[in-house]
Symmetry: C2
Subunit: 319 residues, 2 copies
């Protein structure tokens, strides 16, 4: 283990003290892929695990950001500190389009108890998710009571940010027909809490019924998934959401599945990060290494098939 230099040492101290500017600086280092960022995460990892990590997923446009804003407001009323990390390219946080009445988080910008950060996820699969997980760890180490992760529900990536959460909230709205179908068909992972947002919509009751029907088809996991209605822009149903999140937390703590879930998630993260790095290495090699370039060209000329080329590529690396 290399000794940290004094700047990093100082940053670690300031992070542990929960300084928002240190948090911002740390995440920038991570985002830029700097060595110091990795050293920092290594230094603070032992301090992580106290934060409650809540993941918010769901299709674009359902109001995940508004929901997170409203929940943040609730959490602040009982003095809980909050870190928000958005890795949804369709999120208004990520776009930086902070239109007052649309995004309730705007009111939190001057509150040091709320730290908001977004990452653009488009394209950069492994690299971005890896950085997001590290940023979540840093928020945790900086003493945030809650870390709220916002991500668009696409799934099946090498590393999935949502897999880092203790509790996964799926946000839907009337009109989220595709998500319902995906739940029904068993194509979508079953979340821990479901929220139907924008519940002033006339089709909300129908939607809630459909969600419940879809859930009835999924295997019993010992936890009855609550289906809540919220109108996040007016703060309605947010108390119930907070209660459901806390009930889920109590459930997994009581069952011992919190520790189990975290162990499984951390292991999957290691494998996922390693896989994503190997992929980036392969891609870089394919561009830089004439032999690999030739191998790929032979596939394009249909001289050797893709699976054989993949095998040769791996054998070449192993040499």
């Amino acid at each position: 283990m290399t000794a940290l230099n004094t700047t990093t040492d100082e940053l670690v101290e300031r992070l542990r003290a929960g300084e928002p500017r240190a948090l911002a600086r740390a995440i920038t280092l991570i985002e830029n892929g700097e060595e110091e960022g990795s050293a920092l995460v290594g230094a603070i990892f032992a301090d992580t695990g106290a934060a409650r990590v809540i993941g918010f997923t769901g299709p674009p446009g359902v109001g995940k950001s508004t929901l997170i804003g409203a929940l943040t407001k609730q959490l602040r009323e009982t003095d809980q500190t909050v870190g928000v990390l958005s890795v949804d390219p369709s999120s208004p946080f990520t776009h930086g389009a902070l239109l007052g009445d649309r995004i309730r988080l705007a009111e939190h910008f001057l509150d040091p108890g709320v730290f908001i950060r977004s990452m653009a996820s488009r394209g950069a699969l492994g690299g971005m998710a890896e950085a997001a997980l590290q940023a979540a760890l840093v928020m945790d180490a900086a003493g945030r009571d809650y870390v709220l992760l916002e991500t668009v529900g696409v799934g099946q990536a090498e590393i999935d940010v949502i897999d880092h959460a203790d509790t996964v909230v799926l946000a839907l709205m009337p009109g989220s027909g595709d998500s319902i179908q995906a739940l029904k068909a068993g194509v979508m992972e079953i979340p821990d809490v479901i929220v139907v947002n924008k519940s002033d919509h006339p089709l909300t009751d129908t939607m809630i019924r459909e969600v419940k029907t879809a859930l009835a088809l999924s295997p019993d996991r010992g936890w009855r998934i609550p289906v809540l209605r919220t109108e996040a822009s007016r703060g309605e149903g947010v108390t119930e959401l907070r209660e459901a999140i806390e009930a889920h937390r109590a459930h997994i703590e009581a069952e011992g599945t919190l520790a189990e879930r975290r162990a499984r998630n951390l292991r999957a993260e290691v494998i996922g990060i390693a896989t994503a790095r190997l992929r980036r290495q392969l891609e870089a090699q394919a561009l830089a290494d004439g032999e690999i370039e030739q191998l790929l060209d032979r596939v394009v000329r249909r001289e050797i098939d893709p699976a054989r080329a993949a095998r040769e590529l791996l054998e070449k690396r192993a040499q």
Copy 2:
């Protein structure tokens, strides 16, 4: 290159002759991950590239299978041979639930010009997608004029079956709000042709307008994406769909982008297959190798962070 044994030689000959039973046998070998399957794909790969590969994606329940069935009927009317490969766990093909009036493909089961095969995609990320791509290659080599790939639109996997297609058709229906939002937000890949199926629905016009609005926000790629309405269960709009697919084909041939797209896809396949294999190796090692097990346990005990553990894992492999 190892010499193929006589059984494989014979199978290759029967495949080249387009024998449906040889095709079924070949795909079973591939699906079971047998060495003979790989040898076979290696032997026939030079014969591939003639088939038109059309990918169908979209949320569960929009009627992709019915659409594929109706298109198959059209293609058979002009004596085109068809191979259908479903890698959508929500597809009726995959479920084997062939209810006569629901699935128009049932009428093709006795036609040797139509070959239907499904693969269950749940969970098995790399392995399944790899097998599906090989199955598509075998159908191509067996002289199928069209290979139709059905897949649920999840994306971002290590290997994505849809990336193997020359033309990607996105199927939607009134109620596909999530997909529209994803298109608008730029979270979903832009397809080549969009079909709004079940067009007897009263909200079809609204849906088509929304699709067009979403497309208007996407960058101009030189190809005007047609937005078609179909009622696949009655065969309506299927001629237009076929024409749109052929127009897209003519467009990419004329522009020279067909060759470019195929080269890019094949290269991505090689990297994707190699990555998926590396991931499986890592997972197997994590289970079998005591040292890696210890490394992962240290992460769970928060002694070393996930990124550092991933680095150590890769260093250990490199030794």
